[in-house]
Amino acid sequence: MQLAVELEKVSFAYPGGPEVLGRVDLNIHAGEFVTIAGPNGGGKTTLLRVALGLEEPVSGTARLFGEPADRVRDRYRIGYLAQRTRLGIDAPASVGEVVTSGRVARRGLLKPFGRADRDAIAEAIARVGLEDQASTPIQRLSGGQQQRAFIAKALAGEPELLVLDEPTAGVDVDAQEAFGAFLGELHQALGVTILYVSHEFGAVERFVERVVLVRGGIVFDGPPAELPAHWHDPSHVHP
């Protein structure tokens, strides 16, 4: 199966700082739903940034879709949901405008939108169940709906890899559960590769195929059922 993300003996340290990641090996296959978890400061966000080509490793190689991660040509193949605090949820934007902004990279900066673009945007909005709120200002939506609007933005580019960075930070447990179930359905329906990065992974534990725990390096990589009991997310208890 084709590899979406490939890290080989990757080490990373910020200039003048201690090593954050040491000789990390990680392969994520196309179509997998994987959570990258670990304590704050454990290096999971750094691992994500290296995997996406936003940071250059000190040693080792990072590849995306088989190409060097920092030189991937068609980056629109990546759909990205940033941490809530970094999103423009206070902007006076409508849901439609937010989702449309996720299509720009695939279409190209200067090319006008065509029918295929408009269809993809409408489909992304419908996929998250916000078709009746396409004209609604994003500020007037609930936190969960805002999150769905930005998921639709990531989907509008028809990505092959969907990356979510701490998507449930600051969201209550019930909303996290609903979001986890939604991602499970999305993965089933689209077959897209999902990389879910969070220190709170309990909401998606039932849906992911692999849990990767990062603490300076990878300390666990396997199916959730094999995760040692003391590493489970205590904020979510599933029967």
Binding site: L54, Y80, A82, G88, S101, V104, A105, L109, K153
Partner: protein, 269 residues
């Protein structure tokens, strides 16, 4: 005498109309990216440009255009390369600009009324050739915004996401910074260097409380900017007041009214 009978008022209204729509259009993207104060920093660099223009005996507006654009791109470079935090980069340009301006003004012996017209705006000193330059630069600025609109919106809403998906963030940020520099330079004759940043921010604050989309907010902010400039010029003409102050006080009034009235408006929607 009717206000438009005076040739200088025709020039002031024509120039002011360009400034009134351009400044909020550029300002919208600065406000969304929490860079509202960049206009102040660039304005001080423009002051150094005006002073350099006097010293070198070249067009003060042209020299200010170069200084403001270089300063804006410099702030963006410092910020994006993490050489300095955003507010530190701004402080560096802010203080360097005002200090260089003071030194150059004293060297040129130009501490006179004409210099004050750049600082506080003047409707008497604007010429048709100034208007031609303002109109050309204004059209270029609005044209660039229209051309890059979707990309600028994508960065305003989610810079990290736009970067990951491959949009040329560096280019878009430099273009936005350069647009801010151009706006400052073309606006200073009417509004004044010390107050132009307000016209980039206050109409956007007002429109942001009322608008229901980015498009409607930008158009509304341009309308508020235009109204503030034309009404401010009229008041300054009949009241013999500095136009920059009158324009900005009106824009501030719109912003205060929108902030105060927004909760009532939202309740009725």
């Amino acid at each position: 005498m009717f206000i438009l009978d005076a040739d200088f008022m025709q020039i002031a209204f024509a120039t002011g109309a360009v400034v009134g729509v351009l400044a909020p259009a550029v300002g919208f993207f600065l406000v969304q990216r929490q860079m509202s104060l960049i206009g102040d920093g660039i304005g001080h660099a423009a002051f150094a440009g005006v002073a350099a223009g006097y010293l070198l005996d070249v067009s003060p507006v042209g020299a200010a255009l170069v200084a403001a654009t270089l300063a804006a791109v410099g702030v963006e470079w410092l910020r994006s390369r993490h050489r300095a935090a955003g507010d530190q980069a701004l402080a560096l340009v802010f203080y360097t600009g005002i200090a260089a301006g003071v030194v150059l003004v004293s060297a040129a012996g130009a501490l006179n009324a004409n210099l004050f017209s750049f600082l506080f705006g003047s409707i008497l000193t604007v010429t048709w050739s100034d208007f031609t330059l303002v109109a050309i630069l204004g059209a270029v600025g609005l044209g660039i915004i229209a051309l890059l609109y979707r990309g600028l919106v994508a960065v305003a809403l989610d810079e990290e996401g736009a970067r990951v998906s491959g949009l040329p963030i560096g280019l878009l940020n430099v273009v936005l910074a350069a647009l801010a520099g151009i706006t400052i330079a073309v606006s200073m004759r009417i509004v004044g260097i010390l107050l132009i940043a307000a016209l980039m921010v206050l109409p956007v604050i007002a429109a942001g409380r009322v608008g229901t989309s980015i498009r409607s907010t930008i158009l509304l902010s341009m309308g508020i900017g235009l109204l503030s400039v034309t009404a401010g010029l009229t008041i300054s003409y009949y009241g013999n007041l500095a136009p920059g102050g009158a324009i900005v006080l009106l824009a501030a009034g719109f912003a205060v009214a929108a902030v105060a009235g927004a909760p009532f408006l939202n309740r009725t929607r």
